[in-house]
Amino acid sequence: MDITTTYLGLKLKNPIVPSASPLSYTLDSMKQLEDAGAAAIVMYSLFEEQIAHERSELLHYLSHGTESYAEALSYFPDVQQYNLGPDDYLEHIQSAKKSLAIPIIGSLNGVSVGGWNEYAKKIEEAGADAIELNIYYIPTDLNVSGAEIEKKYLEVLQAIKQTVKIPIAVKLSPFFSALANIAKKFDQAGANGLVLFNRFYQPDIDLETLEVQPNVILSTPNAMRLPMRWIAILHGKIKASLAATSGIHTAEDVLKMLMAGADVTMMCSALLKHGPEQITKVLRDLENWMTENEYVSVQQMKGSMSQKAVADPAAFERANYMKSLHSYK
């Protein structure tokens, strides 16, 4: 049985890839993921904004209160050398490449064209096999239109494509008004893959303190419906690879995504909950199911249930929504 797949032009031993998460913080846990069977690893995201923030905070506090009072003209030694860039992240990629055999995909979350470019180049130099651009931006400005945002993203992608040679995946949010169109535009702009979808962590309200608090809720299998629909819709219509992420917990989830047209399936919540060994279980179940149902390869089932391939393409469209509501009644 052949469960290999190709994602971003990279030949992968199976279709399971842990997505960007704290599981890639240490070499140890990355090694565990590899041992459990992960076909590649998407690194946790490098946040340009966070680097800039840390840098300005550090500079602020190192000078805060200085040169005011004769006995304490400063409060910290001048250690001269500060590692204020993404050096840790890049070193981590380098050591992961040395210790692991599977491909390593760097993940980058930026805010400015300059920042995206600079860091993408560095990630490539550190040895990453590919880069995932994590577009994690909440457009709250009432004066910024969807078209402007799309334009900005495309510019970023084009700029990065000119800067680096390794494949680039774009991790999208589901909140584009014309998702199919923007997918096509990313495809045309040179994206080697699209990752559907980014899960925004939605804040919560604390009734005790009356404060808005970030509150991470792990995904449930229900969350996979949204990416599955869009993968099914896009499969076969664009050149870019498709990666499914959100709510993939079991072999059944993987199968469904592959059939919808995903080239790889990305897991996070299930691994955080059950540990890296969940990959081993999913792979075993996947192979068992394929054996029982006489599938010979992942390639064979890929897209077999995509919009193009199913008997009722409208099932993936709006009509389907009306129907489901009726069926609920």
Binding site: E67, S68, Y69, A72, F76, D88
Partner: protein
């Protein structure tokens, strides 16, 4: 000048110059922080942390000790075992080294100690410079070499190193604290080749050969007896006799190497001088400048700069004096009360007399010799004063034992001079800048000197005058640029450029008094070139017109905002200076600024460089010249520095210090013994807050937390009868009191608008939020200017409402305790200080019967630095009485106070009994058996003492009089021994330990900031593992000392670990229990601090996280519980619920280690987490342990 070697020119201060040579020439460096010498230790530690090597290719080992005494001991040991070893210190620190210095000299051990000479504390502490410290050690047998300028500091550091190795006499290399240690100057950097050429390796080997080693063992440090000690002491004489020759040889050698010529006694002036001044230190530069100004005008004068003061070479001295001299003035920068004369004066008189007696005086006649004092505690010494001294010498009967620079109207010692006399040449650009500590003015100016020093052939000099306040501090920068080395070691009085970086200074200082006619004035103003004129105070308009000045404005904060610079206006104001001062061609200057920005920020990120570049460009576009009208039109006058209602002493004396005119106060204005009135901070309305808290009663839940956390007592609460509202101002807010204790009464929270420092702690802790708009709390920060006047009136009214009767207050609740009036208010501590809320709480609870012994440190500075003190009195005139002895002895100092109180209490009781017939049985019984465990009991005892005093005043016996003088001690007194962790964990630990062991009833409050905050954040033993601090530049590698555990080991010490931001109630109860405990109590109070590199507004939140992560566990160990058969240790915080990282990631002191030494950070953070886990387990175990053993006993 030797032109063969082109050395690098650098712009550095004196401390860096000394440390540079010391670090290159030593192997072991033992350090301890003390102003103004701390930076020498800091440089050494930083350089070693960065791997910088000494001349012999090894990184010097730097170790911080627990005190200067410890540093001297460590150096002594290192020297005895053959290391090249040094230390740095000042003032009291040097005094603590004396015992070891006698030993080191007695054993003929070569070393150089570098001293930033500072005033020794007498009637008051002073951090500033004079020679009282170095003069105190002249009997130790050390050679003393004086440097007068930054270049000399570097040169003499090396010369003394060479001379000590050859002579075997240890050297004290000293220079003036602040004036030289902190003056920034362009100098020539000696290179390693120079140093190598000066130091003979054979002499180093000889030093090592003399060292102790079990391979060739010796005995040193014997005890000797009357038979031989004397003879042994005389063996060293030949070494002292040859020492001056050795120093002279080193100076000759140095001249060959570096080209600068030095003499043991260096004469400058007319070859045929008749009047000369003899002196040493930085002021000699000013005297030289004056001599060089006056001699071409025909004055026959000169100066002898004493360089090698000990061993004093009569031969070299007399050879330096021109034979024509008829009159000598010897100037000492020290005072020896009771001595015939000051030390240098008596030395000169002795030497001259001896030479005369022996017929060896080469002068035509024995000259007149007068001695004078100048410059104590960095008092200015100007060319005008120098001329005054020379003029005095012309008189037939010149004054001897005079003072210069002050008006002594008590003993009439001061000589007069013409203050308008000046010597500064026109080709020196002189600029004065008024800045706010937080606006980066000083950094920008230091940078400008570097730019000019390094990019041009000009010489630059910078000296900076700082504030005694830590919040809203004013800085005044004095910068000179000129074509020659600058010898002007005094503040600029006549500037060609004056910059005022904050508008509000215009109403506070006469900034233009510095400006010469035609000078340029730069003002940071929100008003543009067309509107600014009408907004200026009258005196500014007048001076601009009369002096025909040029006037420029820029809205620097607006440019900063628009270029994402936040509130840092340093780059902007610096650009303005270069653009209009003409010190460099404009384009060249701008290019240099940009170049410097790149150098400074290049490694820190391209975006920061771009931001600064943008700020530079925008500055040029927003800098405008203002056309100065012909007439003064303004009606805005400078407000008086203090209110008209202030006491006369405040108006006449303290107000002068507040406005920066303290120099004009005569001797008679000062108290004779350093005693000052309290309750004075209230008169210094500083108005430093741009925003202040505003109360919304509708939302308030009356928890009083805001009152408790306020570091400055600038937000107050009162509960009072409704009738008081009758005369309330219209905008005065009140609400019904919620609760049963004061049912029917009114409640008001009121802000002191002119005293608030805008820290925001009160708003941060306020738990009450609007039900319709959650961001609105019961108190919210609002702009101060529009409501200043209204709230000032409201606050005045609020203060007139009587305080609640202390007897009715539930003091063991947060709400109740905060109705007690703070007797510590409006201190100059940092905005958001983590220490002062504890101090304030103590004064609320016990202030009317408290005596405070305060260790030197932040708490002694915000507690007792002139002009004003935050300690104050209640409506009965009672309040804390406060004193600071030293840094190292505070526990003992406080214990002494306890002993007096106890003794006088005992004596009073004895006398009451003796006089019982006169006093009356019931009163006697009441007085002797009073229960003073609560406010009511104390009140009653005070009433009894009042009656007793009335009775005693009618009695005439000596016993009655004696009782009258001490009977106040029948009322319970509370001794508080307050200090920081530097005192408690390090320098004062021995004493603290002894006081705890004494069993006496004292309360030790340790304000634990985990660093020496006052001297700039040096590591103490309270510093936690993995924190970066000065002297721990690569992160502290060992765990925090568990002071509480050590104290608990005594069993009879009350110990509490508290953190107000984590558990305010536990804090309150611990302080009450500690005071109530009739024995020693130790409270370790976690105090967030500006030295942690945190958002001070959220300081209390940091405290909470410190406790939640187990970083700072809360507990109380109450020995009284043992008598009840209970475990005395009660843990008041829960087991760590969060990883340590959650706390440490909020604080720069930890965070910067990750960013500077990532691998070490990882390693240390794992260990730090283990420290937390292990400590918690131990405490948990101890708190659980069954105390049945105690039960049985």
């Amino acid at each position: 000048m030797n032109t063969k070697t082109k050395r690098q020119m650098v712009t550095i201060d004196g401390n860096e110059a000394a440390a540079y040579v010391a670090h290159k020439c030593n192997e072991v460096i033992a350090i301890y922080p003390i102003t103004p010498s701390s930076p020498m230790g800091e440089w050494s530690d930083e350089w070693s942390a960065l791997g910088k090597k000494n001349l012999w290719g090894t990184i010097p080992q730097v170790i911080e000790m627990q005190s200067e005494g410890g540093a001297a001991g460590a150096v002594h040991g290192a020297l005895q075992t053959g290391a090249l070893s040094t230390t740095f210190t000042s003032a009291q620190g040097l005094l603590l080294m004396i015992p070891n210095m006698f030993k080191i000299a007695g054993e003929l051990t070569p070393t150089v100690f570098h001293i930033a000479a500072r005033t020794v504390a007498t009637h008051a502490l002073s951090i500033f410079g004079d020679h009282s410290d170095v003069m105190s050690v002249r009997s130790t047998g050390w050679a003393m070499l004086s440097s007068n300028s930054i270049q000399e500091i570097m040169d003499f550091a090396l010369i003394s190193q060479a001379a000590t190795l050859e002579s075997r006499i240890p050297f004290l290399h000293f220079f003036d604290g602040f004036r030289s240690s902190h003056e920034v100057m362009k100098i020539e950097l000696l290179n390693e080749e120079d140093m190598r050429a000066m130091l003979d390796d054979e002499l180093i080997h000889a030093h090592r050969e003399r060292a102790m080693s079990p391979d060739h063992p010796v005995l040193r440090g014997t005890a000797q007896n009357p038979d031989v000690f004397f003879q042994a002491r005389e063996t060293v004489n030949p070494y002292y006799l040859t020492c001056p020759g050795i120093v002279e040889k080193a100076m000759r050698n140095f001249e060959k190497i570096a080209g600068r010529k030095y003499e043991l006694f260096q004469y400058v002036g007319a070859p045929d001088a008749e009047r000369i001044i003899i002196m040493m230190g930085s002021a000699a530069e000013t005297t030289q400048e004056t001599v060089e100004y006056l001699t071409p005008k025909g004055e026959k004068i000169g100066i002898i700069k004493v360089r090698l003061y000990r061993p004093f070479s009569a031969e070299h001295f007399i050879n330096a004096i021109p034979k024509s001299v008829k009159s000598i003035a010897v100037l000492d920068r020290t005072k020896e009360p009771g001595a015939f004369g000051e030390p240098l004066y008596t030395d000169v008189v002795s030497v001259m007399s001896e030479l005369f007696m022996n017929g060896k005086l080469p002068l035509t006649s024995f000259p007149k010799i007068i001695g004078g004092r100048y410059g104590l505690s960095s008092k200015e010494f100007t060319p005008a004063m120098v001329k005054g001294v020379f003029d005095e010498m012309k008189k037939p009967q010149p004054m001897n034992h005079f003072t210069v620079g002050i008006l002594d109207d008590v003993s009439n010692t001061s000589i007069t001079y013409d203050p308008t006399f000046a010597t500064e040449p026109d080709d020196v650009v002189r600029a004065v800048f008024f800045g706010l500590g937080a606006d980066g003015t000083v950094s920008a100016n230091k940078n400008s000197i570097k730019i000019i020093g390094e990019d041009t052939d000009f010489y630059g000099q910078g000296y900076f005058v700082y504030d005694s306040k830590k919040s809203g501090a004013t800085t005044i920068s004095h910068l000179r640029f000129g074509p020659r080395q600058i010898h002007s070691t005094y503040l600029i009085e006549k500037a060609s450029f004056v910059a005022c970086h904050q508008w509000f200074f215009l109403e506070k200082y006469d900034v233009l008094k510095y400006a010469v006619p035609g000078a340029t004035f730069l003002l940071n103003s929100i008003y543009g070139p067309n509107e600014v004129w009408d907004k200026l105070p009258r005196h500014i308009q007048k001076e601009l017109i009369e002096k025909k000045m040029k006037f420029y404005v820029i809205d620097a904060y607006d440019v900063a905002r628009k270029t994402d610079m936040g509130t840092r206006i340093n780059t902007i104001m610096q650009t303005c200076f270069f653009a209009i001062s003409g010190v460099l061609p404009k384009d060249e200057a701008i290019a240099s600024i940009k170049n410097s920005i790149e150098k400074t920020y290049g490694k820190k990120g391209i975006d920061i460089v771009k931001q600064n570049f943008e700020a530079v460009d925008q500055t040029l576009a927003n800098l405008f010249e203002v056309k100065i009208p012909d007439k003064v039109t303004s009606k805005i006058e400078m407000p008086p520095p203090v209110s008209e209602k202030a006491p006369e002493y405040v108006k006449n004396v303290l107000a002068k210090i507040i406005t920066g005119d303290g120099d004009t106060l005569p001797v008679s204005a000062m108290p004779i013994d350093g005693t000052f009135p309290i309750s004075t901070a209230q008169w210094e309305k500083r108005n430093i807050a741009l925003e202040i808290p505003v109360w919304i009663p509708d939302i308030c839940i009356q928890c009083n937390k805001c009152i408790m956390v306020c570091p400055h007592a600038a937000i107050r609460v009162k509960v009072y009868e409704t009738k008081w509202l009758k005369k309330a101002p219209k905008t005065f807010l009140s609400m019904d009191y919620k609760g049963t204790e004061y049912k029917g009464m009114k409640y008001t929270i009121q802000v002191a608008p002119e005293d608030c420092t805008e820290c925001g702690l009160c708003v941060d802790v306020c738990p009450a939020k609007s039900k319709s708009e959650a961001r609105v709390k019961s108190i919210n920060m609002k702009p101060q200017p529009p409501i200043r006047e209204q709230e000032r009136i409201n606050y005045d009214f609020f203060l007139q409402i009587p305080d609640v009767d202390r007897r009715t207050v539930k003091i063991d609740t947060i709400k109740g305790s905060q109705f007690l009036r703070p007797l510590f208010e409006y201190s100059g501590a940092c905005a958001g200080c983590g220490e002062t809320p504890y101090v304030k709480l103590v004064t609320q609870l016990f202030g009317d019967r408290t005596i405070i012994a305060n260790a030197t440190g932040c708490s002694s500075i915000y507690g007792g630095n002139l002009p004003t003190t935050p300690y104050c009195v209640d409506e009965n005139g009672r309040g804390p009485t406060w004193s600071n002895s030293l840094f190292e002895d505070n526990a003992e100092f406080g214990l002494g106070m306890r002993l007096t109180i106890d003794k006088h209490n005992e004596m009073a009781k004895e006398l009451v009994q003796k006089l019982s017939a006169n006093i009356g049985g019931q009163l006697v019984n009441g007085l002797l058996n009073a229960n003073q465990s609560d406010e009511a009991g104390i009140y009653e005892q005070r009433e009894r003492v009042k009656i007793l005093k009335e009775k005693l005043s009618s009695l005439n016996s000596s016993e009655a009089k004696s009782l009258l003088s001490i009977c106040d001690n029948l009322v319970k007194k509370s001794i508080w021994i307050v200090g920081g962790d530097g005192w408690a964990y390090d320098i004062g630990y021995g004493g603290l330990d002894h006081v705890l062991a004494s069993g006496r009833n004292v309360n030790l409050l340790v304000l634990d900031t985990e660093v020496y905050s006052n001297t700039g954040g040096q590591m103490s033993k309270a510093t936690s593992r993995s924190a970066i601090a000065k002297f721990a530049a690569s992160g502290k590698s060992t765990a925090k000392k568990d002071l509480g555990m050590l104290a608990m080991a005594y069993g009879n010490v009350y110990v509490a670990s508290i953190a107000m931001g984590a558990n305010d109630l536990q804090t309150l109860r611990a302080i009450i229990e500690a005071e109530a405990y009739d024995g020693p109590s130790l409270i370790i109070a976690y105090s967030h601090c500006i030295a942690h590199g945190i958002n001070m507004t959220k300081g209390m939140q940091n405290q909470k996280l410190a406790v939640e992560t187990g970083y700072f566990p809360l507990y109380r160990y109450n020995p009284m519980l043992v008598t009840e058969g209970k475990n005395p240790l009660k843990l008041d915080s829960k087991a760590p619920s969060k990883p340590l990282k959650e706390f440490t990631s909020l604080e720069t002191r930890f965070f910067m280690l990750e960013k500077s030494y990532p691998a070490r950070a990882k390693e240390l953070s794992v260990l730090a987490q283990k420290d937390v886990n292990i400590r918690w387990k131990i405490y948990e175990h101890l708190a659980r342990t069954d105390d049945s053993e105690n039960k049985k006993s």
